[in-house]
Assembly symmetry: C2
Amino acid sequence: MFYDITVVQASKMLGNLKAMLEKAAEFAEAKKIEPEVLLTSRLAPDQFSLIRQIQICCDTAKLGAARLAGKSDSAPKHEDTETTLDELYARIAAVQDYLATYSAADFVDTASKEISLPWLDGKKMLGSTFAVSFVIPNLYFHVTTAYAILRHNGVDVGKLDYLGSIPFVE
Amino acid sequence: MFYDITVVQASKMLGNLKAMLEKAAEFAEAKKIEPEVLLTSRLAPDQFSLIRQIQICCDTAKLGAARLAGKSDSAPKHEDTETTLDELYARIAAVQDYLATYSAADFVDTASKEISLPWLDGKKMLGSTFAVSFVIPNLYFHVTTAYAILRHNGVDVGKLDYLGSIPFVE
């Protein structure tokens, strides 16, 4: 279940995010504006811009899986220097490639594992808590905020772009 | 795990949503505006207003748990007639009370259960798919969109209001 939610589904959401950014690129072209206008947009003056939202989506997915599997050192490093759509696509792809290195077996001990968080003075959280109360809500928060910034600016994205394809029973 | 995510965590997120609405009420009072100005706000002309976002948060939580547990008929009915904060608080509380009737035992068969969705012409989805690809992303989508509408209008909400309290290991 941790694998399904924090690896498979996280990778899918990153793909959905990329598809929404491709719609943003089409929108920018049609409106004859630079895509960077959208990438630096935000919904409030003290909110992170779209570019930062995308970087955080990537980090939440990458570090969420890494910490839950006890493999933090294996996560690729990113310097948060992206300024263009192509650079953001590359970052998304790098995280998807990294997530693809995991399998369900990496998460057998996750629920009861104590996870120490560097930005919380070493406070510890159970793996199940970290996944349910932190990684999952954060991932969707930043994907949805990215969506909301695009939507507010007039890009034609809708709920189905956010959800992506749903696998039905055959 | 289904219980933790779609009942316990969903109820917590509804509580966080209520706390954000209380901040919106304080903001409206300080600005001497009617709270309904916020409740009818949206980020794009063809987006659901804040009031509808809150109703959908409630329905996603209520019907998500009910369908995953195979108890759809037990979910309380709501007519989507709320227009005030107090009415929305009451709806949130009703759903939290309903979620409190569940226990982990209600979800033992969920993963492999075939769930039929009335709005999809009876197409079926595995319980695990329905939870991971649909209920969870939808719940966070609408809570985050509610947050984004408030944030865009100047209400002082931040990530910690959205996440709520995080239980650390003692």
